[in-house]
Amino acid sequence: MSIEVRNVSKSFGDFLALDGVSLHVPDGELVALLGPSGSGKTTLLRIIAGLEAFDLADDGAILFDGQDVARQAVGRRRVGFVFQHYALFRHMTVFENIAFGLRVRPKPSRPTKAEINARVRELLRLIQLETLERRYPWQLSGGQRQRVALARALAIQPKVLLLDEPFGALDAKVRQGLRRWLRRLHDEIHVTSLFVTHDQEEALEVADRIVVMNQGRIEQVGTPNEVFHQPASAFVMDFLGNVNLFHGRVEAGRAVFGSMVIEPPGGLQIDGESARLLIRPHDLEIQPDGEGRSGLRGHVTRVQLAGPIVKIELAGENNQPIYVEMSHERYRQHPCTVGEKVFVTPRDSRLFVEDYTI
């Protein structure tokens, strides 16, 4: 079932949490709503679920498969909602928690006891907790509780699955295991899913498509590849991974950042504008010297060899820190030591001049 959000706004007092947001989630996709806290991602998710009131513009709508659900109560939308802190019913066992959505159905549409049993057993197998059906939530680990919460949401055979920071309250190791499990689960059941996260790594690893949000607006929608390699704005690039940021100015059609000059093909027509250059640490190259070439001078302040890649910190002009990452192999070819004066050149970079992007 596809989800379509059209021109939805929400404010809490003076704070504008959502500013005319429109979004389309295709059927069967696993989509991440990614953004810093306060960007409106959870609010958007809750509005789609029907848990939050909102302001709908005249042309605004919330459509599930083309059907307007904006005025439908949460219980009638058939959404599976998974809360960050699980929100399990603590006086019910794992089995009773999962069965809840089926047992509260009105008589005519309520499955029989045997059908409920079968459905719950099937879900218990899906979340790999068959042996724990008699436990109470407080007898489970955080990861187990989150899986029970997911099974409870899936029990009602939801049209869409909405997850609010599903792994936010778990520790790093469990988190990683659980998000891979969620990806596999989605490949198995293919229910349209939308999950909120502030962890870019999580979004890049799990989602089919990422919606990057900032200050109540959507900055970019794209596949993980697109948002990572072709960020639509400086914010998106900054939010998805580490970047080095340089401030400069447009002069004679070229962007100048100290001794580093970027000359875009076709040139820039807006002289005098301030420009920002964003370079990912792995797109910088360190060379012993750079006679007559465009680049930055600096000296090495720190070399970190532990880990899968080598991380090097430099102090550039005005002592601006520059972060460089490279493979161990490459480092062995051109090793450098703390204090050494070096020259850095970008292999790839993105230039942002006001609204003009290259």
């Binding site: 848990l51 949460v74 909602f81 399990l88 006086h91 959505g101 407080w138």
Partner: protein, 284 residues
């Protein structure tokens, strides 16, 4: 929600030392303030001729007072359990200007001398009083009737229910209600299946406290009750009446019967409470 750990075995010593010491202290303390005076009461009853004691308790006037005391106390506790839940819910879930004032007003029945509240209630509910004058044309006699007794007992019992429910409701995550709603449960189903089981132990505690307090209440009731024999006399009043007549044996007999009855009822409520709390007892 704090992550409750499964049973952990503590080696660390608590702030308050040793089980032995606290147990000894508890027994001594309870003896001095509760058990010794109550034992004296029983001994006194036992010393008197049984026939006289039985005759006193079985007299129609005393039985009528027992009926009134129990019925009015149960009714008042039940009314408080219902409306107190509403008050506690509002105080926990909503914020509005003047909330702190309302929160403080709930405690007034705790603080007010009972005679003061009794006289105030009587003034208001008597025929011609602020509220009584509106009830009279409807044929409702508030003051000087069993209804008046119940009103006084509702008044003094309210804070017990509200104060025991508040922490339980604060502990209840609003997300749990949203979860129930998203799974298709209606309001009533959410209340019955999700909220009520979670707050039932606290609700029963509040009920028991309000009930116990109502059984023993004297000061506020005697003014509004009118104290008509066979109609609006409560048990504590009869005890006083017997004392004034120098019928000490009769007074102690009624008191003992009251004590046994209260104890049995409280024990019963505690048993229900234990039964309902057992399901998530380990949560602490």
């Amino acid at each position: 929600m704090p992550a409750p750990t499964a049973k952990t075995f503590r080696k660390r010593r608590g702030v308050i030392p040793g089980f032995g010491l606290t147990l000894g202290y508890t027994i001594l303390y309870l003896s001095l303030v509760v058990l010794v005076p109550l034992s004296a009461l029983f001994l006194k009853t036992a010393a008197a001729p049984w026939a006289h004691a039985w005759e006193t308790i079985a007299s129609p006037r005393v039985l009528a007072s027992f009926r009134l005391s129990l019925a009015a106390s149960l009714a008042a506790a039940a009314i408080n359990a219902f409306f107190g839940l509403g008050v506690a819910w509002m105080l926990v879930r909503y914020s509005f200007p003047g909330k702190r004032v309302i929160d403080a007003v709930v405690d007034l029945p705790f603080a007010l001398p009972t005679a003061v509240s009794g006289i105030a209630l009587t003034t208001v509910y008597a025929p011609g009083g602020w509220i009584g004058r509106w009830l009279e044309p409807l044929g409702i006699k508030a003051a000087f009737s069993p209804l008046g007794v119940t009103i006084a007992l509702v008044f003094i019992g309210l804070p017990f229910v509200v104060r025991t429910l508040q922490p339980a409701l604060e502990d209840l995550d609003p997300e749990v209600e949203e979860a129930a709603a998203s799974l298709g449960a209606g309001r009533w189903q959410t209340f019955r299946c999700v909220i009520l089981p979670a707050i039932l132990p606290a609700l029963l505690t509040g009920f028991a406290l309000a009930f116990a307090r109502a059984l023993g209440e004297y000061g506020s009731v005697v003014f509004i009750a009118g104290n008509m024999p066979m109609k609006t006399e409560i048990v504590p009043l009869l005890i006083l009446v017997k004392l004034e007549q120098y019928d000490y044996a009769g007074a102690t007999a009624i008191a003992s019967a009251m004590l046994v009855l209260s104890f049995l009822l409280l024990f019963l409520i505690n048993a229900v409470q234990w039964w309902s709390a057992r399901r998530h007892a380990a949560e602490g």
